[in-house]
């Protein structure tokens, strides 16, 4: 019964996105253009050298395209969704139903983003196809498996982090600024623009103590074979640790947020 509930929800959320496929496609064109520009920059940079912080040109291009794919799979709009629910007071309609709001919104978000994610993956594949000469193909089955597990964890981490940002709307009502800035910072700290090695050492050390170094950057390290299997497994453990810690935090703050919602009656 529980599964049927969420399966129906997933289908509805997918259908809804399908209506606006044209708009989603346009977003992806913009994304495609910025990836191409980045790769163009790499060509310029590598015209004077063969190696940048340990990355060859091929590795760097693979990194840029790969990060695009991991990011596409793990993108989430949960912060905006929560803001909308709180702002318009629609949260109430979910609290009245025999359904968990968090699970409901996770499924809604996950299913709703599929079209957007697959468009992104499609454009990344075009980039890879155009530059196949420069693309590093991983042929190690263990590497692939570890890579996939790490991506699944990144999906969860992004959801929980965005959920935490979304909870701010219980206190600030409008959180567009928080969402934008946290998105940009997250992109930098997870290595979604450029690999973390290109930043000062101190920066990399700091984000390594936080979940951020174990997200997009980490998955690409596994794919490119830049870390050993043992290090990869250790990293997966750290991912798991952060998932548990952040999920607990999310649970605590969700309870606080609900208390606030109930006492203020927004």
């Amino acid at each position: 019964m529980e599964i049927k509930k969420y399966w129906t929800l997933a289908k509805l959320s997918f259908q809804q996105q399908l209506i606006y496929r044209g708009n989603i496609l346009m977003y992806r064109f913009g994304e495609f253009a910025s990836t191409l520009i980045l790769i163009l920059v790499w060509f310029v940079v590598y015209s004077r050298r063969d190696l940048l912080e340990g990355y060859t040109l091929a590795e760097m291009i693979t990194y840029s395209a790969g990060v695009g794919i991991v990011g596409a799979l793990s993108r989430t709009w949960i912060a905006d969704i929560i803001e909308r629910d709180v702002h318009r007071g629609n949260l109430s309609t979910y609290l009245l139903k025999p359904v968990s709001y968090i699970r409901y919104r996770f499924i809604y978000d996950f299913s709703g983003k599929q079209i957007s994610s697959w468009f992104s993956i499609f454009t990344s594949i075009i980039v890879i196809f155009l530059l196949q000469r420069y693309f590093v193909v991983n042929t190690d089955m263990v590497g692939w498996s570890l890579f996939f597990i790490s991506v699944a964890n990144v999906v969860l981490l992004h959801f929980i982090l965005s959920f935490l940002v979304g909870l701010l709307s219980f206190w600030f009502i409008q959180i567009g600024g928080f969402v934008y800035t946290s998105d940009v910072l997250l992109r930098i700290m997870t290595g979604s623009y450029i690999p973390l090695e290109l930043f000062p050492q101190i920066f990399k050390s700091v984000v390594s103590f936080l979940p951020f170094a174990y997200m997009e950057y980490f998955s690409m390290q596994i794919y490119l074979g830049k870390i050993s299997t043992l290090e990869a497994i250790k990293g997966l453990g750290i991912q798991l640790f952060w998932i548990i810690v952040l999920a607990l935090l999310a649970k605590i703050f969700w309870k606080k947020a609900l208390k606030r919602y109930e006492s203020v009656g927004m």
Binding site: L9, I19, Y20, L96, P98
Partner: protein, 337 residues
């Protein structure tokens, strides 16, 4: 075996005892300077949205909650639905504490807010129905039966396949109702169900609510500030003002309790002087040939007789004052218990 005590037959569905709900509201002085000040020092004031309210509602009752804006009607409904945690007091719905938000209770009631919607904006209403069916775990057979019945009652067969955003407000409201009633709730809270609807649609909505209450023996609380809704639907009304109950009983009893006057409406054969009429009572309207005169309740027959003997009366009616007016007086009066 249990005797024929009438009270024992009636099942108590909702029980509210000494319910209080206070809010901390932050106060801001007017203007930009006030806004800047409030960034530094915030003053809070306690607002007593609901202040020591008690009542019980039995199975099958259709009760109207009336009161001005901000009287505490919606706060009470939200507390009954488990959306708000009471500051103090006891609330029971079907024997459950609504605040615990247990699925067993949630599957047995619905809250419909005229200003909120749960339908998926970009999809036909039917899709939301199916999702609600799954969420409330309604068996296929029962779902088919309920939908068919509701769709027929509300006459919305043709619009089920149209995207919700393309529907008119009235059509959308009807679909909202179906979505809320799919799980056949025993208890129904309707918060301003006719808000923003035109007169024809208001009437249809009222007919539906009445019909639904009778057909399914459901217990309904309705808030509205259209007296028409309450007058037509509810035998019992609870009047709330400033967080307190000022009246709880039959609608007709309001008249007896609060109206100290009756209305004489007269049609004259010939023109008469307004000053002459003042002897009968307070002339609230005079436009030849009609006049409306307010007279003290106890003396209404004598005054009417006086009018008949002294004036060229073509037609005379002794009427109760309109309930809207009485309630308006109740709210503005200071001496209300």
């Amino acid at each position: 075996m249990w005797g024929c005590d009438k009270l024992a037959e009636m099942k108590e569905i909702i029980k509210v005892k000494n319910l209080k709900k206070y809010y901390q509201v932050h106060q801001k002085e007017p203007g930009l300077l006030g806004s800047l000040k409030s960034l530094v020092v915030r003053k809070y004031e306690e607002v007593k949205a609901v202040d020591d309210v008690s009542f019980t509602i039995n199975e099958g009752e259709l009760v109207g909650f009336i009161g001005p804006n901000g009287a505490g009607k919606t706060t009470t409904l939200k507390t009954l639905s488990g959306l708000l945690y009471p500051t103090s007091g006891e609330v029971r719905v079907l024997g459950h504490d609504p605040y615990k938000r247990e699925p067993e209770l949630q599957k047995q009631f619905a809250l419909v807010m005229g200003q909120k919607n749960q339908l998926w904006w970009d999809l036909p209403a039917q899709e939301t129905f199916i999702l609600n069916k799954e969420i409330y775990e309604v068996p296929d057979e029962q779902y088919q039966k309920t939908v068919t019945e509701l769709v027929e009652m509300l006459e919305i067969e043709e619009i089920l396949k149209i995207q919700v955003r393309k529907l008119s407000l009235g059509q959308r409201m009807k679909c909202e109702l179906v979505a809320a009633l799919l799980h056949s709730p025993k208890v129904l809270f309707l918060d301003e169900p006719t808000i923003g609807l035109d007169v024809v649609m208001q009437k249809k909505m009222r007919d539906f609510i009445k019909d639904y209450n009778q057909r399914f023996k459901s217990t309904i609380i309705l808030t509205s500030h259209y007296m028409g809704d309450v007058k037509e639907l509810c035998q019992r009304v609870i009047i709330i003002d400033k967080g307190k109950i000022v009246f709880d009983g039959k609608l007709l009893d309001i008249i007896e309790k609060y109206a100290d006057h009756k209305i004489l409406s007269v049609v004259f054969q010939r023109g008469v002087k307004k000053e002459g009429l003042e002897e009968i009572g307070e002339v609230t309207e005079y436009a030849y040939p009609k006049a409306v005169i307010r007279v003290p309740r106890q003396e209404s027959s004598q005054r009417a007789a006086q009018l008949l003997t002294n004036f060229p009366v073509a037609d005379l009616n002794i009427e109760e004052p309109p309930i809207e007016n009485i309630i308006r007086e109740v709210f503005s009066g200071e001496d209300v218990a």
